[in-house]
Amino acid sequence: MKISIRDPVARPSPGALLFGLIPFVSVCFSVAWWDRLYPVVLGLPFNLFWLILWMLLTPLCMWGAYRQEQTRSKRDHRSRNRA
């Protein structure tokens, strides 16, 4: 049991990381821009509307990241099979 992990696991691909950066920019770093009350959208203050909007958009971004990782693991798999 005293073997440490020699090979670190595969890092996430840059493409997948970029997809994940989008929600971080949209709901975290840009707070000074979206934290306001007007325009009122669908009856909601703008800041609340913006956060709800990103609850719906974030899964889309992460689906993009998922696709990136999948194509990569398929490619790895194929090259391993060839070798």
Binding site: I5, V9, A10, D35, P59, W63
Partner: protein, 472 residues
């Protein structure tokens, strides 16, 4: 029957139904350490989703979020942002963690550190940090349960007996079952919670204001400054928001129990797909916020904001419905509380007691000790639950300030092999010490930033400097 008797018996019925479901699920499987902690690693997408939803949507989101929306206003929005971003972070770290956990049959978070860094002192330190900072999170659930009993009894049951009832419920629930029970009970709890949030949100806005839109129109007219940052606070502005969202979203899956629950998954792909869909679970949360915001017009002047949602429900609906809301709330507190106790007890038995005091004891003895520790840990949390006056959100933030200090160790452990155990340990000590000093000295936020975030920055700085200079 008096209103309080109706409300309390409905709550009791829901809790008994939920626990029966849990015991039934637990009883069908033989409970060894592997089954008790990681359910034999056989959970598919639906179960992992339920388990993770079960621990993300806790008393914290029901009572704590509405409580902060009521008492602090705009800064409470950090909860919506972090409940999105923690799943984004999980997409990148959980699959490789699962990979390593399966390769080496790991059961706890400290096992991961032991395996990766090959250092018992680091693993013990990680386990201790985990146990210590689980306590405020556990206390949060007990306080939430206590608040439910208190409000549903129309204040006939005082704070201390209410917390005692909460403690008995939680401890007996954990004692009888394991992680499998927790996943099953989540089904009931999530359905009830969904029903409660939708009904309360739409009905409260319709009854008092005539709809969601008019509710906000009224709020924008009466208290516009409450709805943006810093709201009712003076020091929770945008810098606080960014630092807190970063701290909590990075730390969201660094909790020993959340990291541990990923071990129950069948494959790493399950975890990735789970991360993609999880943010959708939060779309009902804004309704809870609306009830909290609207509370400042409906029930102004509450001393403890965490009571706002239940007080509004009691004021608006029949005792029967108050009971249903209370029952859903009670399950939302019991499920995560059970997981937290289970994790802390296992961590102590397996990763603190065994390596330090009795290296030769068998897995079966570890499991027995873990069961005994359930009571000890619950009693400690009960003590704090009775004697503290922090808000639910403040308790969770305190937990995060400590737990996220484990983040650098996890990430370097996964993706790099150059960082040594002593480097990670030094960073951890610096981070926890900084956060604890600032919070206990009442300097949180410090210079407008979250104290835990400052700890995390110094933690990373320490790791960076030691790694570059190759001191250790």
């Amino acid at each position: 029957m008096t209103p309080s008797a109706i409300a309390l018996s409905v709550i009791f019925a829901i809790v008994v139904l939920g626990s029966a479901l849990g015991f039934y699920a637990g009883a069908r499987h033989k409970m060894d350490l592997e089954q008790w902690t990681v359910a034999g690693r056989g959970f598919g997408l639906v179960f992992v989703w339920l388990l993770m939803a079960g621990e993300s949507y806790t008393t914290f989101s029901l009572l704590g979020a509405s409580g902060w929306a009521y008492s602090q206003g705009g800064p409470a929005l950090y909860i919506l942002a972090y409940m999105l971003l923690l799943f984004v972070v999980s997409f990148y770290i959980l699959p490789p963690i699962w990979e390593i956990a399966r390769r080496y049959s790991l059961q706890t978070q400290a096992d991961f550190f032991q395996q990766r860094y090959n250092s018992t002192s680091l693993a013990v330190a990680v386990a201790l940090v985990g146990i210590v900072f689980i306590i405020p999170y556990l206390q949060l659930q007990l306080n939430g349960l206590g608040i439910i009993v208190e409000v549903a009894s129309f204040e006939a049951i005082g704070r201390t007996p209410a917390m005692l009832i909460a403690f008995v419920l939680v401890a007996s629930f954990v004692f009888m079952s394991g992680v499998r029970a927790v996943a099953w009970i989540s089904v009931l709890k999530d359905l009830l919670l969904l029903f409660v949030v939708l009904t309360v949100g739409t009905a409260v806005s319709r009854i008092y204001f005539g709809g969601v839109g008019p509710t906000f129109t009224a709020l924008l007219r009466a208290r516009p400054s409450h709805l943006t940052m810093p709201g009712a606070t003076v020091d929770h502005g945008h810098a606080w928001f960014i630092s807190t969202v970063l701290l909590t979203s990075l730390g969201g899956y660094i909790w020993p129990h959340t990291m541990g629950s990923s071990f129950t998954a069948k494959s790493s792909d399950t975890l990735r797909r789970n991360a993609v869909i999880m943010p959708l679970y939060g779309v009902t949360l804004p309704l809870i916020f609306m009830v909290g915001f609207a509370g400042i017009l409906i029930a102004p002047g509450l001393k403890n904001g965490d009571l706002s949602l239940l007080t509004i429900v009691r004021k608006t609906f029949s005792p029967l419905f108050l009971g249903i809301v209370g029952g859903a709330g009670a399950l939302t507190a019991m499920v995560p509380a059970a997981l937290l106790i289970l994790t802390a007890a296992t961590l102590f038995a397996k990763n603190v007691y065994r390596p330090l005091c009795a290296p030769d004891i068998s897995d079966r003895q570890v499991a027995r000790l873990a069961r005994a520790m359930v009571l000890v840990i619950a009693v400690i949390a009960l003590y704090f639950a009775i004697y503290s006056s922090s808000t639910l959100v403040a308790l969770l933030l305190m937990g995060y300030a400590g737990i996220t200090q484990l983040f650098p160790g996890v990430v370097f452990g996964l993706f790099s092999r150059r960082v040594s155990s002593m480097t990670v340990l030094s960073g951890l000590v610096v981070g926890v010490a900084t956060a604890a000093t600032l919070i206990l000295g009442k300097h949180d936020p410090f210079l407008g930033l979250n104290a835990g975030f400052i700890g995390l920055c110094l933690n990373l700085l320490t790791v960076g400097v030691l790694n570059l200079t190759k001191v250790c």
